[in-house]
Amino acid sequence: MISIKNGSFSYPGGPPVFRDISFSLEEGRILSIIGYNGSGKTTLIKCLSGIQDFSSGEVSIRGQNSVRGIERTRSFGYVPQLTANPVPYTVEQMVLLGRSRFLGPFSKPGRKDWQVIRDVMELTGTTPLAARSFHTLSGGERQMVLIAQALATEARALIFDEPTSALDLINQHHTVDLLRRLSHEQGYTVIFSSHDPSHALHISDCCLMLKKGLTHIFGPSEEVITESCLGEAFGIEARIYTHINDDGEASKGVLPILKPYRRE
């Protein structure tokens, strides 16, 4: 169980970025954090993962209260937003860096580290890329490498900062599907932020929606991601459509209602 009580954050001397956020998430579940640009999603992700500390509020992880700083980061595998790393390491080196928290300043990766790396690269399908330079990969491949890196931390909870925002449709699908499998098949707790409510609706068990005026809603995704809430949160009218396939399984998608234009 991961729970936050009254989590707030503001930069020194600045206005609050978010305020009094409280929720709790059971292990093995998927939490989505959605909100408009600038709603504080990334800051919240950083505070949750321990990269930054909340200005105020309580975090408890698996019954342990007030886990702060580096100690909290060690409860998570963190997948940063997709940006190019300036140093062109190979894929294998990038994944190996996921083992950093287990390596002392003077030690070298041992047999166990290499075993973990082989496993997570297999899981993410990055094994064939091992010797390639991270720079030469496509966006989708990079995303998989970063996920492998987070998995290499052996943390049971994974935090993703906008995992789909820099990807095309099919790679978005691959990523979201991997997140789902990690939770459903491997039992990972998954927290991800997104500005696309479709993904949240598609895989997340619960959803934290950040709205204008420093308010938020938390609850089961089906209840939070509704047409009315979306209108409030994003400031645009949206419809939720359901597609039923030949096997009778439903998948939902959010479609914003755009103003129709016709060229005169």
Binding site: K46, S49, G50, I51, G69, I70, T73, R74, F76, Y78, P80, N85, P86, V87, P88, Y89, T90, E92, Q93, L97, G98, S100, R101, L103, P105, F106, S107, K108, P109, A130, A131, S133, Q149, T153, A155
Partner: protein, 340 residues
């Protein structure tokens, strides 16, 4: 993967062999002619006879003049190579070098000030270190205040700090008496090992070698630090301690080198790039390669500088003559990104 690991070992071995051979050749070159076979003989039989001995004078030249100089060149290059690679790694920027961010001129000012006040000695390094750290801290603060992530801001802040300390160096020169101290400060600032001695070696090696070797031994931490502060924390590692250690050790190394050899630019900038071409960007391999390449580069430059003309040519001139074109080529090839 297996193949590149073998390549890496081979390259390191090759660098070692070249370094060894160049050291021997360098020892036999100089104003006092000593044939290579005599050089080897003297090194194998360092204790020799009195003035009657045929090798009496060559032995003194070799053991008391050239050997300390060789050792200072090797360890200086070793230290600058490691520090340069570490700097580019932790500041995540291939254009950064101890010179660019002002550490070198800061250390140069401190050392010059100490020479002016106390003459050469322990204080030279201590002052060099103090002002080197001050320069680095100033650059870092300016960069953080304006735009933490921006490489450009960091380099520009370095330029400002550099210019300031260059002016302070000029002030020291202005204050130095023109007969005795000014020429020696000016000559030392241009970069030279011509005053190398066992005493200088004994005072600087205990700083350069442990610092560099410590940096080498934490090289997996450099890989982590190169991801940037937030990502390092994201990986569950606190970047503050290793970062502080890295900055203090590199500055110690640089100020020790500056205190004996003056301001020798370019080595910390060029050597990591050359090494990266040889062994790739992984700091686990880059740092040892950079150390050897640095030693090789420094020794080569110093040997050329003391043999090409009757007078010692300052190292600063030669490193710039070699370094500037190499760097321009790297810059064009890499278009400002990491050269591969």
């Amino acid at each position: 993967m297996q193949k590149t690991r073998e390549n890496y070992t081979l390259i390191l071995l090759l660098l070692g062999v070249v370094l060894f051979l160049l050291s021997l050749i360098s020892l036999s070159l100089g104003r006092y002619p000593i044939p290579l076979k005599d050089t080897v003989y003297i090194l194998l039989h360092p204790a020799g006879g009195g003035p009657g001995d045929e090798l009496f004078m060559p032995r003194r030249v070799l053991l008391n003049i050239r050997l300390p100089r060789l050792i200072l060149a090797l360890s200086g290059g070793f230290g600058l190579g490691v520090s340069g690679a570490v700097f580019q790694g932790v500041f995540r920027n291939p254009l950064v070098s101890p010179g660019v961010v002002g550490v070198t001129s800061g250390a140069g000012f401190g050392a010059a000030l100490a020479i002016l006040i106390f003459g050469w000695g322990m204080t030279t390094q201590a002052f060099g270190f103090l002002f080197g750290i001050l320069a680095l801290a100033s650059t870092w603060m300016i960069a953080r205040k304006s735009d933490a992530g921006s490489v450009l801001v960091f380099v520009l802040a370095g330029v400002v700090i550099n210019m300031f300390f260059q002016a302070m160096i000029t002030l020291v020169k202005f204050l130095a008496d023109s007969e005795e101290k000014l020429p020696s400060i000016v000559y030392w600032l241009m970069g030279s090992l011509s005053t190398a001695s066992w005493k200088k070696a004994a005072l600087t090696l205990p700083v350069i070698l442990p610092s560099s070797i410590f940096l080498l031994s934490i090289r997996n931490r450099i890989n982590i630090l190169s991801l940037g502060e937030e990502n390092v924390r994201g990986l569950g590692v606190d970047p503050r301690k290793p970062m502080a250690a890295v900055l203090i050790l590199t500055t110690l190394t640089i100020s020790a080198v500056v205190s004996v050899a003056g301001i020798v630019g370019w080595i910390g900038l060029i050597v990591p790039h050359i090494s990266r071409m040889l062994v790739g960007p992984d700091h686990n391999r880059l740092l040892p390669a950079s150390a050897l390449t640095g030693a090789l580069f420094f020794l080569l430059i110093d040997t050329i500088g003391r043999t090409i003309s009757p007078q010692d040519i300052p190292l600063g001139i030669l490193t710039a003559v070699v370094g500037a074109p190499v760097f321009v080529i790297l810059l064009i090839r890499s278009r400002g990104r990491w050269a591969l």
